[in-house]
Subunit: 146 residues, 2 copies
């Protein structure tokens, strides 16, 4: 039984660094890739993973990250197209079992889906939360019984 | 028993228009406020609510939206400070029972919380989804029993 996963994260912005810090803290093996070295400043002092400065759309960089060994791959850059590309490469060429990409434009979500890439759209997720708030308001007001 | 809620939404961008369309579709009474009339183009043809072109930081605009009658208030503009301000006004001056604001900067979330404004941070929510994906991967791989 193996409790620690090998997780590669592309993009060390607000989302990527948050995930890297959280997942490192609970004992997973993390590699973070970003072309801008300064973004690594957002990694916490106790981050125990690896940092790779490089362009993740380059195969050499992904090989350096030992992508073949990865259990999970996250594409979290601010470019929807970059995320789509690297996510597809991770899935199809490196056979990473679990691949997730952030997508800002919800209209692209369907296309990504057809290309076999699982996505998370922050706007759509936020909308869901707001809608849940409406549902909970109604429940709290006793207007709806479930 | 009243099934339809009166919901005021400030900001008709991607998030605001999505919420307006969804909530109007299921029968709620919606008012959308945005200073840019063009944003209303994102409302669907069957949107049956009201549109107000105006600056929601002006009391006159909020009064025009009959905020006193509102059950729910959403602040979804792209400005964290605008969202904070109008959300506070809705809660404290108009006594809207359920107020929610979008906040992009998670570092502001705590401050908002102290000011009594409930917030949703899309980045934090997306991070939560990614972390859930890791948990589900482990569960699917049989590495964790719960």
């Amino acid at each position: 039984m193996r409790n620690s996963l090998y997780i590669v994260i592309v993009g060390c912005g607000r989302l990527g660094s948050h995930l890297a810090n959280q997942l490192s803290r609970v004992g997973h093996a993390i590699v973070v890739i970003d072309s801008n070295e300064e973004t690594f400043n957002d990694l916490s002092p106790d981050f125990s993973g690896f940092r790779i400065v490089g362009d993740a759309t380059q195969m050499a960089v992904l090989k350096q990250a030992k992508l073949k060994r990865a259990d999970v791959f996250f594409a979290t850059t601010h470019g929807d197209n970059v995320n789509l590309m690297v996510a597809q490469v991770a899935r199809k060429l490196f056979n990473v079992p679990h691949v997730l990409a952030r997508v800002f434009d919800p209209r692209r979500e369907q296309i990504y889906d057809q290309l076999g890439v699982e996505t998370i759209c922050p706007t759509a997720v936020a909308a869901e939360m707001f809608l849940m708030a409406v549902a909970s308001h109604r429940a709290a007001a006793g207007e709806v019984k479930s």
